[in-house]
């Protein structure tokens, strides 16, 4: 819809596509990161009996902007023993991987970067780029801590993609679509039509599905936390062991790229979970726009609900981060292969049986 509108204004397909591809970054990711970094600091501060940033602006609201300016003017250090090409490419690749995922995320009924039929599969595929970027960063830094961090990250992300995919498959079996937009549209109406509560079709199947969908949600949430390296799975950048893992050697804007990618990833996984289990951009209880007869209000409401759901899951991620200690590498792998994957398989099989019946 936005694309058509841009097309009408500019009169050129290429220009419209170009502008549209920048929109999520400028309209959403950058402002979101600004808010999320501050939120992270404030949330952690208040959990720890502190106040957090208080000096720049009212209660420190401008702190992130000040930090960003500081990062922009920092020296871009490249050690002489670094592999220049890979070193410079790695942050771009990591950021590209997480940014590309936003193309298929349905922010509202009217705004979705690209209505890819294989949306869900596409997201899983492009986020795979991140692993390559992290390995590159670790290797090119020529630093032992970075290398250890990158090796851990690769092992962790690849392992945890398996339970994630298994649960995604489970949901696909029930809905029969991998298009994220269609998936969200399916769960319209009230919150009991959400997938976590068994999906939109009322009947015996719905009630049978509820416990398995809840377990599936838990598994996918945990494994996605591991995929984006958040506590308790922040092993690749474990501060107390590896200084800061694969991005130890990065400074200035290159470091900012990793940082941006991390927060963009946090939102991406929250968005996927929201779409899969919590109705995507659908409101939990009807739309104000529909009841008032203002059709134009509905997409905005949808955007609002989508952001609220995304932010809620981000809050949960922060909450976990500031509460839990971190696993050890072997424990993390054992947890994935011994518990998550078998459980995910069992859920897959049982849900398959339920849908066949």
């Amino acid at each position: 819809m936005i694309y058509d509108w841009l097309h009408d204004i500019t009169g050129s397909e290429l220009l419209a596509a170009f502008i549209q591809s920048w929109l999520p970054l400028l309209l959403f990711i950058l402002p979101f990161v600004l808010v999320a970094v501050l939120a992270e600091r404030k949330v952690s501060a208040h959990m720890q009996d502190r106040l957090g940033p208080m000096r720049v602006g009212y209660h420190g609201v401008l702190q992130t902007i000040a930090d960003l300016i500081k990062l922009l003017q920092k020296e871009d250090i490249t050690a002489s023993a670094n592999d220049r090409k890979l070193f410079n490419l790695a942050p771009l690749l990591v950021f590209a991987g997480s940014y590309a995922a936003f193309a298929a995320i349905p922010f509202s009924g009217a705004f979705i970067g690209s209505q890819i039929e294989l949306g869900l599969i596409y997201i899983v595929a492009v986020t795979g780029l991140v692993v390559a970027g992290i390995l590159m960063a670790g290797w090119a830094s020529n630093n032992k801590y970075s290398l250890l961090g990158a090796m851990r990250a690769a092992a962790q992300i690849i392992s945890y993609e398996i339970p994630t995919l298994l649960i995604i498959l489970t949901v696909i079996m029930v809905t029969g679509t991998v298009n994220l937009h269609t998936l969200s549209e399916m769960q319209t109406g009230y919150f009991w039509n959400w997938m976590i509560l068994g999906g939109p079709e009322f009947g015996l199947q719905k009630f049978l599905l509820i416990p398995f969908m809840m377990m599936g949600f838990l598994i996918i949430f945990i494994s996605m936390l591991a995929e984006v390296n958040r506590t308790p799975f922040d092993i690749p950048e474990a501060e107390s062991e590896l200084v800061s893992g694969f991005h130890t050697e990065y400074s200035g804007m290159k470091f900012a790229m990793f940082f941006l990618a991390e927060y963009a990833n946090m939102f991406a996984i929250s968005a996927i979970i929201a779409v899969l289990f919590f109705g995507g951009f659908q409101s939990p209880f009807g739309y104000l726009g529909n009841s008032l007869g203002w059709e134009w209000l509905v997409p905005f409401e949808q955007f609002f609900w989508f952001t609220v759901k995304g932010l809620f899951f981000i809050f949960v991620q922060m909450w976990l981060r500031w509460t839990l200690p971190r696993f050890r590498v072997d424990q993390l792998m054992a947890f994935c292969w011994k518990y998550m994957i078998p459980f995910a398989f069992v859920i897959l099989i049982i849900v398959g049986l339920i849908t066949v019946l």
């Binding site: 009996d49 308790p232 501060e239 107390s240 590896l242 500031w322 200690p325 971190r326």
Partner: protein, 371 residues
Amino acid sequence: MALKTEEMILNMGPQHPSTHGVLRLELKLEGEIISDVIPHIGYLHRCFEKHAEAMTYPQVIPYTDRMDYLAAMYNEFGYALAVERLMGIEVPERVEYIRVIMGELQRIASHLVALGTYGADIGAFTPFLYCFRDREKILHLFEITCGARLLYNYIWIGGVSHDLHPDFIRLTRDFITEFKPNIKELNDLLSYNQIFIDRTANVAPLPKETAINYGITGPNLRASGVKWDLRKDDPYSVYHKFDYEIPVGSGERGKTGDCWDRYIIRVREMEESLKIIEQAIEQIPDGDVTSAIPKRVKPPVGQIYTRVENPRGELGYFIISDGSLNPYRIKVRAPSFVNLSIMGELCKGWMVADVVAILGSIDIVLGEIDR
């Protein structure tokens, strides 16, 4: 074709977030498994022992503060005790009580730092700040007493520099009532957290015999199941007047003497220290605190070894006097130094992530190791 493989050497520190100061650990790695650990120390060396030979006995006290800067009160306590025994000074009873109260408060403050930073090493940052919040209250008590928050110069030979602040007893009582629920909070948040237990229980258990052979003292020794505490086993000051327990490790969540045992011993010692403080502020007699301070500290010719139970273990002072105003020789047996020697033995076969857990559980202070 066989690939050429070699050990990777990883230098951990001196600039590393969790080596608890300027310690450098040379790790020999096979993948993530440790094959050897060599600690390199000396980055903080200040020639304390040699320096002390050029100063009079009272002038040494501020320098003892700077050894174990997390337990400065106890360093002064031990030093003052050694010189008093050498000179045969009887200190008033009120002074003894004040010293015990200060020493036990210092023990709690020191353990709080140990526990908080241990949580941070394992990846839980919030307990760290909770511990520092409580330590802040103890530092406030020290501040109203002697004006300093870290390096006190409070316990003098034959007495203490000031009497207690009129509000001290009341504020200490307030602290105890506030602090007891916070220990429970720490246990709920960290000690009995399943991830924390997985990370620390069964990790690097220290057998009783090895601990004794290496001369390990303090909470690390007690965690291995040896009930050895100088406050009970070689009593000094007025510790015999109080009723308290010596917690020992029992392998509650894993093997005896593992990292979790070393951690939980410190939590329990804080509870026992609270008991001592509670009894001491009930019983503390009135009196003058400066009456026994000698005008000229000139011990007779002789030598003495005095040891006290510092938060980290047996802190010993060996002093030789040649009858002049300056000590002929002061040798300090620093518990952290001895405890660090077990590092290579403990770390072998564990992973890089465990080195941090093991080092944190030994609880060293580099200021004392290097002196």
